[in-house]
């Protein structure tokens, strides 16, 4: 195994741990909705939610980075340049995340001043981490980009997938600079913030996961490189063709000009089209391989990715994206329903597929199968569907009663939160969150155990044959 692949495994392990932390704080956050006043002034909702959503970003980013460190040396048949530095920075990254989380938990917030921004909490959604940590992330990202680009240069060759990845990494990193500024004007703040968030999750991250899945298909089912690369270019054209101006669907209500209602609505209405293309591709690949692959969990999580992306991002998104609907659904649990489903479908499933792919190779297995992965697959997906369904009911209830009828006042909001369907939805979300957490526990067990007993048997057989 290349050193880069060992590092990839470390990142994928850290990603799994962060996934667990995200789930734990997600469960905690859901408790506040069903127990009013829970831990009031001791550990407020905002703190748990910050760790939940920032944990989401970190576990997925670590999953992406781990995947790329895993695939890159095999792509170029050489060790990654600067791997020593990358190995060091992995530990720095983990330590920084731990410090940031501990400060969030034990300090929580500071007074209004630069000290808070630099060392405690920047208070902007998804990028609450203090500036010192944001600088750390930039350093890690720059070294990561150096690893990828320098290795490609030293190899004196590139591939289609790698070229797309490198081209994608540049805007991905540049966009992160929005994690730093503090702007008085909220319209301006949110305008640039959405450049970061949307052009990450609905543009550059889509291309990134496309590259990772292209590599996955080559290694999983032996897909032809020419085919996956051609398809990757088609995907990039469609996803960026719709997603770049689809950014406008976040510019309906933040003070920006009215033309964004038309532009954002039209382009985000087109966003499901490439996702349907991805479903067709996934079904094609699955069918031509008779729904079989040696690594069954990786195969099924890859399929889940295509369908989850379409339903969570496409179906759920289209429900609420047109301005006449969005006026009422905006900023309700309806948004949370779409957000959970889309992140899970578009990214969570794909990263888990790579977990299994990397594990199979690292344990010397040609394939993987068993019972535990099926249980975790079922529990995680059923748990997610349950949470998303519950949030949808709550969100529609909110849009209807609080917004459309109630006129969106504080009284309308507060009375809405006490309505029976809303409360029952919050309980359902909590219960399905527990199901999801059980699925995670089984996933962790499976990731630790799968392939190991047979690996030990193979090593013994090799030792006997050699003696």
């Amino acid at each position: 195994m290349y050193r880069s692949q060992r590092l990839g495994l470390k990142y994928l392990t850290a990603s799994t741990v962060m996934f667990g932390a995200m789930i734990a704080f997600g469960l905690l956050s859901s408790v506040y909705y069903i127990l009013p006043g829970f831990l009031l002034n001791v550990f407020n909702f905002s703190t748990g939610k910050i760790i939940h959503i920032d944990g989401l970003v970190i576990w997925l980013l670590m999953g992406f980075i781990g995947s790329i460190y895993w695939f890159l040396p095999e792509e170029l048949d050489r060790e990654v340049e600067g791997i020593g530095l990358a190995e060091l920075l992995f530990w720095v990254f983990c330590a920084a995340v731990a410090v940031v989380v501990l400060v969030f938990i034990f300090v929580q917030y500071g007074t209004a001043g630069e000290w808070s921004m630099w060392f405690i909490n920047q208070g902007r959604k998804y990028v609450e981490a203090p500036r010192w940590a944001a600088i750390g992330i930039v350093v890690v990202a720059l070294v990561f980009a150096y690893n990828v680009i320098a290795t490609t240069i030293k190899a004196r060759r590139t591939t289609g997938i790698l070229t797309v990845l490198i081209a994608d990494l540049v805007p991905l990193l540049v966009l992160y600079f929005d994690a730093f500024p503090e702007m008085t004007n909220m319209s301006q703040d949110l305008f640039w913030w959405w450049w970061l968030v949307h052009l990450w999750v609905e543009a550059t991250w889509e291309v990134l996961i496309g590259c990772i899945l292209a590599w996955t298909l080559i290694h999983l089912v032996g897909a032809s490189r020419r085919v996956v690369e051609s398809w990757l270019y088609v995907e990039v054209a469609m996803v960026l063709g719709t997603g770049i101006l689809g950014l406008g669907h976040h510019y309906f209500w933040i003070g920006t000009p009215r033309y964004w209602l038309a532009i954002g609505g039209v382009f985000s209405a087109f966003e499901p089209l490439p996702l349907l293309g991805m479903v067709v591709h996934a079904v094609y690949d699955a069918g031509t391989h008779h729904l079989q692959a040696a690594n069954r969990p990786a195969f099924y999580w890859t399929l889940a990715e295509a369908f989850g992306n379409f339903i969570g991002g496409g179906v759920w998104g289209f429900m609420m994206t047109l301005p006449q609907i969005n006026m009422y659904s905006h900023g309700t649990q309806w948004t949370a329903s779409h957000g959970h489903f889309a992140f899970w479908g578009a990214y969570g499933c794909g990263v888990i597929a790579v977990f299994y792919l990397a594990l199979a190779k690292s344990r010397g297995c040609d394939g993987l199968d068993g019972r535990a992965w099926k249980w975790s697959f079922a529990l995680l997906n059923v748990g997610m569907l349950g949470m998303v369904g519950a949030l949808l009911v709550a969100g529609i209830d909110q849009a209807f009663f609080e917004r459309a009828i109630g006129g969106s006042t504080w009284s309308a909001y507060l009375s809405m939160q006490g309505r029976p369907w809303f409360i029952e939805s919050m309980w359902a979300r909590f219960v399905f969150g527990l199901v999801f957490a059980c699925g995670y526990a089984v996933l962790v067990y499976d990731l630790i155990a799968i392939g190991r007993r047979e690996e030990a048997g193979v090593q013994e057989a090799v030792a006997v044959a050699g003696s």
């Binding site: 032809s224 085919v227 051609s230 398809w231 088609v234 609505g265 039209v266 209405a269 087109f270 499901p272 089209l273 349907l276 293309g277 479903v279 067709v280 591709h281 079904v283 094609y284 069918g287 031509t288 008779h290 729904l291 079989q292 040696a294 379409f310 339903i311 496409g314 179906v315 759920w316 289209f318 429900m319 609420m320 047109l322 006449q324 609907i325 009422y328 659904s329 199979a360 344990r363 297995c365 040609d366 394939g367 993987l368 199968d369 068993g370 019972r371 535990a372 992965w373 529609i396 849009a399 209807f400 009663f401 459309a404 009828i405 499976d446 155990a449 799968i450 392939g451 007993r453 047979e454």
Partner: protein, 118 residues
């Protein structure tokens, strides 16, 4: 737009894309397994998509421009599975597809190599 119309329209919009997805899935399966029943179901899915489109156009208070967009999307969703499928089959000239649905559930161990279990 009344509150009821808002919720009904939103659910129809979600059903619109869901029907498009169902059509795409059934289109692919009908070509994979070459079963007449699947073709019928795929046509029915697209018919459902058209019915939802007609409902959105005729009965919802969406602005005229959005209705045009939905009609155009309905057409696009008809083309995407077919165009994508043709593109993929031309890209994969050496790959054969199984026309026997029984093979879909069959594990061919000798073809796939050794399996490791958890």
């Amino acid at each position: 737009m009344t509150p009821h119309a808002m919720v009904a329209t939103a659910l129809l919009l979600g059903a619109f894309v869901a029907a498009a997805g169902a059509y795409g899935l059934l289109y692919c399966l009908s070509r994979l397994w070459d079963q007449p029943q699947l073709r019928i179901w795929s046509h029915l899915s697209y018919a459902t998509l058209c019915a939802i489109t007609a409902t959105l156009v005729a009965l919802t208070p969406l602005y005229f421009g959005w209705k045009i967009l939905i009609v155009v999307s309905c057409g696009a969703y008809l083309l995407i599975p077919a165009v994508t499928w043709r593109y993929l089959t031309r890209l994969h000239p050496g790959e054969k597809m199984s026309h026997d649905p029984r093979l879909a559930g069959h594990v061919n161990r000798s073809m796939l190599g050794v399996h490791r279990r958890s």
